[in-house]
Amino acid sequence: MDNDIFRGKLVRLSAESSEVYAEHFSRWWHDSEYGRLLDLAPGMLFSPKRVKEWLEKELEKDPPEMWLFGIRALEGDKLIGFADLSGATPHGDTFVGIGIGEREYWSKGYGTEAMKLILRFAFVELGLHRVSLNVFDYNPRGIRSYEKAGFRHEGRAREMILREGQRADVLYMGVLREDWLKQFGAEYGL
């Protein structure tokens, strides 16, 4: 049994205090491109204090409704983003969210590796049957990354977004435990 499941070659999934999350989340949301890649709803630019109050409530729940991790680059142990699983159903399905807030870590494999780690957690520790995500069609970098982590396309909800006077679609992607095991089982000694 391999217990070193939260560490990859570039990043590790970390636990952070609500203060640290709050300061980083608040700052990252001030980058509007980050917000527009992450959320359908317009960003609210909450203060660290507001974010902290909300997070404290979330992180107190035991067992958690949301499995939230920080993403730390191994080099320098710098907090560069977050990943979370939320809305798990009794049928073994959950949605994953991920964001790399520090722009200098974009397009270098950090996000893909973090996604692979949280998928591993979902399947080997939570025992889920599948993991779902939504990504916007104007985010090709994200789509490519999720494909590499094992996600398959499940459909396209048309015209979900209206931004800059243009409508954009939302893509649904999903990865089944069985397919994930075939693709990554050997890598993780499963």
């Binding site: 049928h91 459909g155 909800a157 999903g174």
Partner: protein, 189 residues
Amino acid sequence: MDITTSLYTGKLVRLTRIELEKDPETLAEWSKDASLMRMLDETPARPLASEQIKKRLEKIEKEMDEKHEMFYFHIRPLEDERLLGWGKIYWILWPSQIANIELAIGPSEQRKGYGSDASRLFLRLAFDELNLNRLAVRLPAYNIRGIEFVKKFGFSEEVRRREVILRDGRRWDSLVFGLLRSEWSVNHG
């Protein structure tokens, strides 16, 4: 511009407000078997007492007041006050002009045309009053009648989320259907 045709009154049914004193009893009766809840989504079906349902309905009213992200109505026939079902336009995201829609008709009131008549009202409300551009419906793949029903109104299958639902020992897909304003016609259905 025709503002004289009622948004809330169709040929067979009316969209009305919640009656907190009477409706919970009917809804509790419907929850005694799983037939209705299982057709809607993956939320586990369970019997609910009138008091529990009343609390849920009060919560819905409060949410409608505070957040303006949902329009929830109870469906009744033209001729009396009995409850036929419910319908809601929910998860409205105003900047995107999108929402989800759900419609449910009580087991004993199905196959009488009430659902179709109510649907026409809800779609008109969504597109001609709320000015939405897109509506989505989520349906389990085993809800064949539901799927035929939404297709009749012009919805098309956009997403097939594989094996999302585990029921009766089997895995089932969960579907998302979409209808754009440009595809909607008052003549549909």
